[in-house]
Amino acid sequence: MSLDVRSRPDESASQRPRRARRRTGGGRRETRGGTTWRTRLRRDRPLILMTLPCLAILLIFNYVPILGNVIAFQNYSPYAGGILGSEFVGFYNFQRIFSDPRFWEVVLNTLAISFFQLVFFFPIPIALALLLNSILSPKVRTVVQSVVYLPHFFSWVLVVTIFQQMLGGAGLIAQHLRDHGIEGFDLMTDPALFKVLVTAQVVWKDAGWGIIVFLAALSSVNQGLYEAAAIDGAGRWRRMWHITLPALRPVIALLLVLRLGDVLTVGFEQILLQRDAVGAGASEVLDTYVWYVGIQNGDFSYAAAAGLVKGVISLGMVLLANKAAHALGEQGVYRK
């Protein structure tokens, strides 16, 4: 390897014969890892070909739309020539966004729902995992796990419909309250309760599934640590504080990083389903706003610009949160 890199004056003029020599006597070199990119390409061509179907789909449906974001800098109209024919307007659409009070309301609402969920959803899987981990009977654990994972695989339409059937104006609870003379119970259309409602739905659907990573982390803890601590006189709670929680810390850090990157993303399908029932005032989040302005009202350029702002901020948030995780000594999403 070092021979190849260091260019000696007497050899630099005779590159062609050198390469020929190397090909004939290349066996020793290759075993030392000194393969050229040509041989590596030839060796790995089948592997690269295998990634092509996937890459083709990604290029068409992920990367072409990324380029399609140029319409955020245009006054796009599908009738006036499309992307190629529309007039460029620079940052005009971004000026419109940033001076639009409705946009800022929507951003604030998105952040509010996001942080509400961070506080009231995030700890629940951890608590459930700790609880389940303390159950000794494997039978009970398996049954509980199978049940609580299940709602994760239900569609949002189904989950919202189930909530409507339970908590809505014609739902189970309203129906029983009416029997006792209490009218007007309906949690599904109350704008003031919307944050609580969507968080409750997320908890019902995904809190159970969320415990799976924590259980995995808990099962990898060296059980000898607990025994040693117990013999040294550490009680149940001290063992949890000094052994269990530190074992969960990398997982918690990783999930927090991912959550921060998604801080502007709150359940698009879930919220769009309930937008009409609750009203856009309480329920509009960035994604539904992009849908409403772009698809419903046909202002494609404005909506694309709003979507682009969201995408760029989200990317920045992940990188930033990951940096913070590294600074705190955690691994984060990717290694440095």
């Binding site: 390409l41 789909i57 990324i66 339970m166 189970l172 389903l273 992009v290």
Partner: protein
């Protein structure tokens, strides 16, 4: 809860020869050094788990019970039925004997089957292609994949692209834009990377092609993760409704989730047009039993597949969580 623990320990006591204490037997799984929990703590734990299970399964039970009840029982209950009085499959027959819901079920099954096949084909190949660290270009391709997780193109450009490709009002619009999940590929890749490298190396020396190694060596030992990822993709196709709403112009192409949304969640009346039998003929808001039957039909495929895949979750997810 406590009863389950007790039965377990009595079973173990019998097998070990009855060495446990008389008043409160020690759980066989509990290490000797661990102090047994108090009765209150044990009771609280059991109660919490019972509530959790009730909250998950209770609503499903009510929906199922109502869908199996006749009109009279529903009227007497004043709506949803908790304890059914006799079972009738009337609602299911009416919904599934042709008409809107039947068509929607077929559409959903078709989209899910074709979509999952395409997704799994592309994902497994890609994950295997990326599974040998140090192979040519694997870092670049991996980055191309990962970047789609970090930065989303956004709804509007994607919509315009699908539109300009002429996929509007076709089922391809429900499949191709969401066919690849980078996360799923990472989980598959992490699993493939753990397949014994000696086996792969010796097969290569024997002259097996990469495709043959994948099919004959790697896939047979990766059944757990294949099952889990197939379920992930299938559930994704089965559950999504937004793309269908966005790209399908005609209601007769709707998948089940969109039908569920319109006729159950939004309480729209079913179209009365057409001579087809079943609920088309009614032209009114469908009865509660029928609404609940549609909900159950939307869950049943998940419930059928779930038990077979469920036991693989931890294994499949674990490798992904650790290495991804």
């Amino acid at each position: 809860m406590t009863s389950v623990v007790d039965t377990d320990s009595t079973a173990a006591t019998e097998s070990t020869g009855g060495s446990a204490g008389a008043s409160r037997p020690r759980h066989p799984q509990r290490p000797v050094w661990e102090e047994p929990p108090g009765r209150v703590a044990q009771g609280l734990k059991g109660a919490t788990l019972a509530v959790v299970i009730l909250v998950v399964l209770g609503p499903l039970w009510v929906v199922l019970a109502t869908s199996l009840s006749d009109e009279q029982t529903i009227t007497e209950a004043g709506g949803l039925v908790i304890i059914p009085d006799g079972i009738t499959f009337d609602a299911y027959w009416r919904v599934l004997s042709g008409g809107v819901v039947t068509r929607a079920v077929l559409v959903s099954v078709g989209v899910t089957a074709v979509g999952t096949a395409i997704s799994m084909f592309a994902s497994v190949l890609c994950a295997y292609g990326l599974s040998r660290s140090g192979s040519f270009g694997h870092r670049t391709i991996l980055f191309t994949l990962l970047f789609t997780m970090l930065f989303q193109a956004g709804m509007i450009p994607t919509y315009l692209l699908v539109d300009s490709l002429g996929m509007r009002d076709t089922y391809w619009a429900l499949i191709l834009p969401t066919a690849i999940s980078a996360f799923n590929i990472l989980v598959l890749r992490a699993f493939f990377m753990n397949v014994a490298p000696e086996m792969i190396e010796s097969a290569r020396i024997d002259g097996a092609s990469e495709l043959r190694i994948l099919v004959q060596i790697v896939l047979p030992v990766s059944k757990a993760v294949i099952a889990v990822i197939t379920l992930f993709y299938a559930v994704g196709y089965w559950s999504s409704w937004f793309n269908a709403m966005l790209y399908l112009d005609h209601a007769d192409k709707w998948p089940l989730q969109l039908v569920l949304r319109s006729y159950v969640l939004q309480q729209q009346s079913l179209p009365s047009s057409g001579a087809t039998s079943g609920i088309d003929a009614m032209g009114q808001v469908p009865s509660l039993a029928i609404q609940m039957a549609v909900m159950i039909i939307a869950v049943v495929p998940v419930l059928i597949v779930y038990p077979f895949v469920q036991r693989h979750f931890t294994k499949g997810m674990l490798t992904g969580a650790i290495k991804g």
